[in-house]
């Protein structure tokens, strides 16, 4: 068994580039983070900030070409996934790392039954017989809250609603009892009420099964309710990282601060209109030589154009362990920040 003190996942200096006809797109730039056992790490950022590409790079799920993972290490229980043979990697995918994607309507194969699709990883990784896998698949469907599971094994995806399909996807991802569950905006495509149900389900499953979770969303409101720690991404890099309470109380990066102002407060008091962040996230056709957020930043100064800021500690702990930010601007003290 792996060392319990070690983080289950440690990502160092990850860089992913897309080689397209129009040139290179630097989608992930020097991303480092870690994930403790049983921890729920929230990853936020506008769409296009590189969240999906980062997570798919971890298990090399991006089609190559055009994707090219240039640099970095992805240590799962101390073993580098980027150096593994394709065969060895396939022993990890679906077994130690489960993935839930954004769109449940298209993520299941329309011509195979739900049962067949849930049984696949069980048969592949756990070597179960067909009958054993069917029993286990029914248990899994029950686990994710699908009633009458046994007869539902014979249903096809189109007979399920979006929320139900996402439950099936979660069942598939959890089938082999993974160490890490990566959920890439799993509720974005769903109705608000269904979103809440899926969130509840994941909280409950986390209690029961104890796997570590990476939860990607562009909604900070969701993060507040479930995450232990938050990674804020922008321009394909980590711009701020902190425990969830700290991030909400003491946001450092202007981007994080702007994001927080777009979240409706639950105080009951009707606030002024929610703020929108003006401008578009950049399309990174070259390696970053300046801060990617500078064009939209109200605190922009000379340093921002001169160099891409490195992550620096905010609270004295090593970068990545406590609270850190990648910004040239020094945010005012916490008291003021909350009311900014």
């Amino acid at each position: 068994m792996a060392d319990q003190a070690l983080p289950v996942l440690e990502v160092r200096g990850l860089e992913t580039v897309f080689r397209t006809r129009g040139g290179e797109i630097h989608a992930v730039n020097d991303v480092s983070f870690h994930l403790e056992r049983g921890e729920l790490l929230g990853v936020v950022g506008e769409s296009g900030s590189g969240k999906s590409v980062t997570m798919m790079s971890l298990i090399r799920l991006l089609p190559a070409p055009p994707a090219d993972i240039r640099k970095g290490e992805v240590l799962l229980n101390g073993e580098d996934l980027l150096k593994m043979t394709p065969d060895a990697l396939r022993q990890v995918r679906g077994a130690k790392v489960g993935f839930v994607f954004q769109d449940p309507m298209t993520s299941l194969n329309p011509v195979f039954t739900i049962g067949d699709q849930v049984m696949e990883p069980l048969r592949k990784h756990m070597g179960l017989s067909k009958a054993e896998a069917a029993v286990r698949a029914a248990e899994l469907l029950e686990l994710v809250g699908i009633s009458d599971a046994k007869s539902r094994l014979k249903s096809y995806p189109h007979q399920f609603s979006g929320g139900m399909r996402q439950r099936v996807m979660i069942a598939i991802a959890l089938a082999c009892d993974p160490d890490v569950l990566i959920a890439d905006e799993p509720t974005t495509a769903l109705d608000v009420t269904i979103q809440a149900q899926i969130l509840e389900l994941v909280k409950e499953l986390r209690q029961k099964l104890g796997m570590a979770i990476i939860w990607i969303t562009h909604d900070l409101g969701v993060i507040a309710g479930i995450a232990d720690r938050v990674l804020v991404m922008y321009g394909g890099q980590v711009v701020e990282q902190a425990p969830v309470a700290e991030l909400f109380a003491n946001p450092q990066h202007p981007y994080t601060r702007a994001l927080l102002q777009t979240v409706p407060k639950i105080t009951g008091v009707r606030e002024a209109r929610l703020k929108v962040i003006e401008g578009q996230p950049p399309i990174l056709t070259a390696a970053l030589s300046a801060c990617p957020f500078r064009a939209r930043c109200e605190y922009r100064h000379a340093a921002c154009d001169a160099a891409n800021p490195a992550r620096r500690a905010v609270d004295g702990q090593p970068v990545g362990r406590g609270h850190d930010v990648a910004c040239h601007w020094q945010a005012p003290a916490a008291q003021e920040a909350v009311h900014a």
Binding site: R93, G94, A95, S107, L108, P110, V111, K124, Y156, I172
Partner: protein, 335 residues
């Protein structure tokens, strides 16, 4: 599914009746009559008797209805009699060929095996070549293999079979002497030697038609595979840790086959119709060359009957294609 099939079969009846009317009238309106086939030395009274016996003096609607009755009632009855040794159809007027003065259906029955063995094999060979080429080309898109497959398909598409056929004859039959130039219809397979002989004489027409069929189907297969390879469920399959073989040959292929199987089913009637040129080129004495001979000889009943049989096959395989689609795609429900 059953109600859908029955409904579609019922709907096919008016469609086919309309087609039969159009075919009958078109052929009937064409210039030329059986009288022109009777030598001029035949005395006029005899000529009139012959024409009367052939029923050509009746008004057109009577002849049409008679033909319909013959096609749907008399001929099946005759078939029944032939199989079970009964004689229900005795004394009923059958559809008679002007050329041979004998019933049309047994003539067609004689020609059919030729067509089915040669052209049917060619279609089968075409499909069997096309599917793996299409699958592998898509899997290795833009590879050398794919480029070669594209070129092969372009040639198969754009060069007509009478050209490739002639080319094959010149190269393989005349030049190299590997295969006979003419198809020997009288050959019956009785032993190993005659079987090899049959294979050799089938080789060229099968290759020519097979290539033409494979060209189109391999393209369908390729583009269908490519379309599905970009789908989200393929990423899910990979995220499960399945190997490429399972991902491609189970998840992608099963979805990609749905439209391709339909196209293959829709193409089956062309085995009977579209092979006319190839049959003539290689001297295969099948349905296609029967049709050409009938047209040349003003054999109206033969032309009408063959054309209508093609029409029935097309309508039938359209239905079969629809049913296959429903069987392969669980999202489709017929009722």
């Amino acid at each position: 599914m059953l109600t859908f099939t029955l409904r579609r079969l019922l709907l096919a009846i008016p469609t086919l009746l309309l087609i039969s009317l159009v075919i009958f009238l078109l052929v009937d309106l064409a210039p030329g009559s059986p009288a022109s086939e009777i030598p001029l030395t035949v005395p006029p009274e005899v000529r009139a008797k012959i024409l009367e016996a052939l029923g050509v003096n009746e008004p057109v609607h009577v002849r049409y209805l008679l033909w319909l009755k013959q096609f749907f009632w008399v001929e099946p009855l005759n078939g029944f009699d032939a199989i079970f040794g009964t004689n229900y159809a005795e004394g009923m007027q059958r559809i008679i060929s002007y050329q041979s003065r004998s019933p049309v259906f047994p003539l067609i029955g004689e020609r059919l095996p030729q067509t089915l063995t040669v052209i049917g094999t060619a279609y089968l060979v075409g499909v069997l070549i096309a599917l793996p080429i299409g699958i592998y080309s898509a899997y290795k898109q833009y590879s050398l293999f794919d480029q070669f497959g594209t070129m092969f398909a372009m040639i198969g598409f754009s060069v007509p079979t009478f050209f490739t056929g002639t080319l094959f004859i010149i190269i393989f039959a005349v030049g190299l002497g590997w295969f006979p130039t003419k198809y020997d219809t009288t050959l019956t397979v009785t032993d190993w030697e005659s079987f090899l002989k049959q294979l050799r004489q089938m080789a060229m027409p099968v290759m020519v038609l097979g290539l033409a069929n494979a060209a189109a189907i391999s393209r369908y297969m390729r583009s269908s595979m490519l379309e599905n390879m970009g789908q989200d469920y393929v990423r899910t399959a990979r995220a499960k840790g399945l190997d490429e073989r399972t991902v491609i040959l189970k998840h992608v292929l099963r979805n990609s086959l749905i439209p391709v199987v339909t196209v293959i089913a829709l193409g089956i009637p062309s085995i009977f119709g579209g092979a006319i040129i190839t049959e003539n080129l290689f001297g295969v004495n099948g349905i296609g060359s029967a049709l050409i001979q009938a047209i040349r000889g003003n054999d109206l009943p033969m032309v009408q009957t063959l054309a209508f049989i093609f029409a029935i096959l097309i309508v039938m395989f359209n239905l079969i294609a629809d049913l296959l689609y429903g069987m392969l795609d669980p999202r489709i429900r017929y009722d």
